[in-house]
Amino acid sequence: MARKTPLYEAHRALGARLVDFAGWEMPVQYTSVIAEHEAVRNAAGLFDVSHMGEVEFRGAGALASANALITNDLARIADGQAVYAGLLNEAGGFVDDVVAYRFSPERILICVNASNRAKDFAWMAEHAKGVKPVDRGDDYAQLALQGPKAPAILQRLTPVRLEGIATYHFAEGTVAGVGCIVSRTGYTGEDGFEVYCPPERAVELWNALLEAGAQDGLRPAGLGARDTLRTEMKYALYGNDIDDVHTPLEAGLGWIVKWDKGDFVGRAALERQKQAGVPRKLVGFEMREPGIPRHGYPLLEGSTAAGVVTSGTMGPSVKKAIGIGYLPAALAREGAQVAVEIRGRPVKAEVVKTPFWRRS
């Protein structure tokens, strides 16, 4: 039986098409993936991402305990700031990719993927030295308000001065009278916020946001648009582009690994890989012949299998068929000519610079 977020009935009332996603019944679209995608690029979209999990470290030593589990460095950011990070296994593969919020050295909140909630919590509980994590996944609903109009819309509903919240920073305050965490983060490549609230207030907040944004063209957006938006940015999706066998160095996420911090789980394996050379890399490519690459399709060099497609779609903003995939290091360079095997047929593609989408 799929779980439901507090907004389930609201989605149904809006006519959403609901699908099972990581054990949750979630809206994939309300009207059209492309229309919702374009709303986010041009105005704003509102996503229910309450299925995501939260894990908290609280008390003296919370920062040190959480920091030893992730690749990025909570010690080098300020209170009120967040980092994107890898939660790695001993082999350097991703247990998950997470966003870690530093409220204070005594309070760290880690947002994890819906598909990995139970696994991540068990992993953190087992590997945390000192302060132990608390599963707070059922204590928060989360709404993502994304798009160029997001700041103006949100500002109508909150006394928090949003101009004062830089990217990857956050503040606590009320939105439409609901106590929230307001974080300037997202997964779309647009400006915007992720707002955490108590589950029992989620419907109220959702309705207030939709109403406040109607004049700006805000519309509810589903997981379909979330996926095309993130793919155009080459943001990794756990289970598609990253998983427990690929390292951050392979995934092009070396920037979330801070070598000058202390030890963290997976560090030794990453050091070995760095020494030996990274064998394969996650690249972005564009199709040069008609066809759409999809997760699991082989990537070819000539007629030889060279790698695999991890994500692909027709990008609604870039208006091209685009893909993400792993290729051997030698082929992982801009301009490399490869092919995607689509239903037994090689279809030409070229490795390109990413993100695919840039505001012009």
Binding site: R17, S32, V33, I34, G224, G291, I292, T313, M314, P316
Partner: protein, 130 residues
């Protein structure tokens, strides 16, 4: 539920077939396009290709999903809807008209009569709610 034209024949894979003199025009139903969502790519068969009834002859893709096209009847492709290469959304906008997929010269015209009529197709949709 959109009305399915009475003059067409239908398959359980949600394709339609329309007899036009000696040839048969093939497309996907309103229900199929609705279930797919925004169509962003159509892998069309080639003119001259041989279709086998019930076999895959192309794909229709949305941003997220790939859906195979199954031939309603056997025959030779004599024309394909090239407009879909530039404007695949025609399938969403006009599935029974401008969104047609290909035109087939049937090898066994009687195969068409074995397909469902509009009433039978409506009953199929009613018995298997999306």
């Amino acid at each position: 539920m959109a009305d399915n034209p009475k003059d067409l024949r239908y398959t359980k894979e949600h394709e339609w077939a329309r007899r036009t003199g000696a040839t048969v025009v093939v497309g996907v139903t309103a229900h199929a396009q609705e279930a797919l969502g925004d169509v962003v790519y159509v892998d069309l068969p080639k003119v001259g290709a041989s279709l086998v009834a019930g076999s895959s002859f192309g794909t229709v893709e949305s941003t997220k999903a790939v859906s195979e096209l199954f031939a309603p009847l056997g025959g030779k492709v004599v024309k394909v809807n090239q407009a879909l290469a530039d404007e695949p959304a025609l399938i969403n906008q006009d599935p029974y008209g401008k969104g047609w997929i290909c035109e087939v010269e049937p090898s066994k015209p009687s195969e068409l009569d074995a397909l469902m009529d509009a009433d039978a197709y409506a009953a199929l949709l009613a018995s298997a709610p999306a």
